[in-house]
């Protein structure tokens, strides 16, 4: 079920990153300069959105039963994305 959560989180991160990158692009910013920022805020927003979606679908009690702490998992997934954010900021 950790992989299920990770799959959902990554999908949400990609969608939100695209959304956060799109607006500055329309206003003429360069893609390479906005991508790290968009990914950071996209991953942070995805953590909140994924939490909310799972709460709405009433899935969290399953994670409680399996003793998988929701905030630790989402925090871990957020942190796992940050090396990518840093790498993009450094190399782009």
């Amino acid at each position: 079920m950790i992989l299920y959560l990770a799959r959902k989180y990554i999908a949400n991160t990609l969608i939100l990153t695209a959304v956060f990158a799109l607006l500055p692009l329309l206003f003429g910013s360069s893609f390479s300069s906005i991508l790290p920022t968009a990914l950071f805020w996209g991953s942070a927003g995805a953590a909140g959105y994924t939490y909310w979606r799972f709460r709405k679908k009433k899935v969290w009690p399953l994670y409680d039963n399996l003793r998988l702490p929701r905030f630790v998992l989402l925090g871990g997934l957020f942190l796992a994305v940050q090396p990518v954010t840093v790498a993009l900021a450094v190399f782009l």
Partner: protein, 235 residues
């Protein structure tokens, strides 16, 4: 309420639970005890607070005051990881993600196909969204009971389930109790709960009343006005 004898037997105890939402008290000083290895039935009318009480016991919601005591350990905060090392909880609504296969769910709960009943084994390759409501409920019950915790809270496990599967669920609950698991069971289908329950409580006027162990539960439910005479005789 009757005085409760003090003993050190392992039990799940809800003590002095108050829960209120704005402008409405839902629970007012509820006391309930589920001894280990016992099936305890919880009865109450719609909106009497049964589901709220189970949510409090499982740490899904924080009561305004009151304690959950499990085998002598007090759980007054939402320390879910500690709490769920002792209990398992089947919520009223399905907790199973629709786009996951049954096999994945069983594996995540540490169960193999050989551990589950035939109706569940027959659909291990299917996704949860393709199961019927009854199959989904049976799967939820089997997952929760298979976690091998000391106490299990079951909120309406028989809802939407066909009679044969009700028998299967009943057998699983009895087997769990025989292994020493304390089971708190609530369901509106009293005819399914009464044969299983060794002890029973009724939630009435926001408080929990323990039914006397000497008289049949059904007679006491009639006496309290939870069941009508003709309803009881039909079941």
């Amino acid at each position: 309420m009757k005085a409760v004898p003090m003993d050190d037997d392992p039990a799940l105890i809800l003590d002095g639970v108050f829960y209120r939402v704005p402008a409405l008290d839902i629970l007012k000083g509820v006391y309930l005890k589920v001894p280990a290895g016992t099936i305890c039935g919880l009865f109450g009318r719609n909106g009497s607070g049964k589901t709220t009480l189970l949510k409090v016991a499982s740490g899904q919601i924080q009561p305004n005051s009151g304690l959950t005591i499990i085998d002598g350990d007090r759980f007054h905060k939402q320390s879910k990881k500690d709490r769920f090392s002792k209990i398992a909880y089947l919520p009223q609504e399905s907790m199973l993600p629709p786009d996951v296969t049954v096999k994945t769910l069983l594996a995540s709960a540490g169960r193999s196909e050989s551990d589950v009943s035939d109706p569940v084994r027959a659909c291990t390759d299917q996704q949860v969204c393709n199961l019927s409501g009854g199959e989904r409920r049976l799967l939820g019950v089997e997952l929760v009971l298979g976690l091998d915790r000391d106490y299990v809270l079951l909120d309406e496990p028989f809802t939407g389930v066909e009679p044969i599967l009700i028998d299967v669920i009943g057998q699983h609950i009895e087997q769990a109790a025989a292994r020493g698991t304390g089971v708190l069971l609530t369901d509106h289908y009293h005819q399914n709960v009464i044969p299983l329950a060794e002890e029973a409580y009724v939630l009435w006027q926001k408080q929990c009343y323990r039914l006397d162990g000497h008289a049949p539960i059904q007679d006491q439910l009639v006496q309290m006005g939870y069941l009508h005479d003709d309803t009881a005789s039909r079941s």
